[in-house]
């Protein structure tokens, strides 16, 4: 029934309903009424069986295509519903992403400001003790090795 997607829906429904109704009416007529009509119109007698076959074929075909059409429309409705939900979810997703981005920027700014305050404190207060507390090179080497996550011998200058 994927072929149905190439035909306009309204036109397709019209055709299918027409086939189904023609088949239903034709079947009823040829099976229950025609044998009485044949008395008045004997010219139809040779075509009795043919008309019955055509009517049944139209009826069966109409039922089949009606079922296929209903299934196709049902799936299309489900697809449309899901697409609408996913569109709404995508819009919400973008909103939340913007919120998270703003939080990252804000929190990072706070961290940088606080670090800057501490660096200013160090330049103001700790610098007085540079002559009192002389750091051996080993302390520098150990710190740098830890910062680079490398064996201590590789960071010696």
């Amino acid at each position: 029934m994927w072929m149905l997607s190439f035909v306009p829906d309204d036109f397709l429904a019209y055709i299918i309903n027409a086939i189904l109704i023609a088949g239903a009416i034709g079947t009823f007529f040829t099976f229950f009424i025609l044998h009485k009509v044949v008395r008045w119109l004997p010219a139809l007698a040779p075509y009795h069986l043919l008309l019955q076959i055509i009517s049944v074929v139209l009826l069966v075909g109409g039922v089949y295509f009606k079922g296929g059409y209903s299934v196709e429309m049902s799936w299309r409705n489900k697809v449309n519903e899901l697409n609408q939900k996913l569109d709404a979810a995508e819009a919400l997703s973008k909103e939340e992403t913007i919120k998270v981005e703003k939080q990252i920027v804000y929190r990072t700014k706070i961290v940088k400001e606080q670090a800057q305050q501490i660096v200013e404190y160090v330049d103001r207060e700790i610098v007085k003790y540079n002559n009192v507390c002389v750091l051996p090179q080993e302390v520098i080497d150990a710190h740098n090795a830890a910062a680079l996550n490398k064996p201590i011998n590789n960071t010696k200058k």
Binding site: M1, W75, V79, K94, E101, A115, V119, N130, L135, A147
Partner: protein, 78 residues
């Protein structure tokens, strides 16, 4: 008769774009250039700040993923 059950369901969605800041890699830690107490303390301070910036990105990733998962599951399961 089974062809009545066949249809194409064109529902395609792409993975959502994460926050741009979260895609930036964490900075490397700094080494001490000035062999003094204040120099060491400044480098330590800068490195601690680098850690916290990295932690902010990491936590933001986790938060973003959980939110997206919730939104996605809510849309599909409703």
């Amino acid at each position: 008769m089974l062809t009545g059950c066949l249809t194409t369901v064109p529902v395609v969605r792409e993975f959502p774009e994460p926050p741009a800041s979260a895609l930036e890699p964490c900075k490397s830690l700094s080494t001490v250039n000035e062999a003094s107490l204040s120099g060491l303390m400044k480098t330590v301070t800068v490195n601690y700040a680098t850690y916290y910036e990295c932690a902010i990105k990491q936590n933001a990733w986790i938060e973003w993923y959980k939110i997206q998962e919730q939104i996605q599951n809510g849309a599909i399961n409703d």
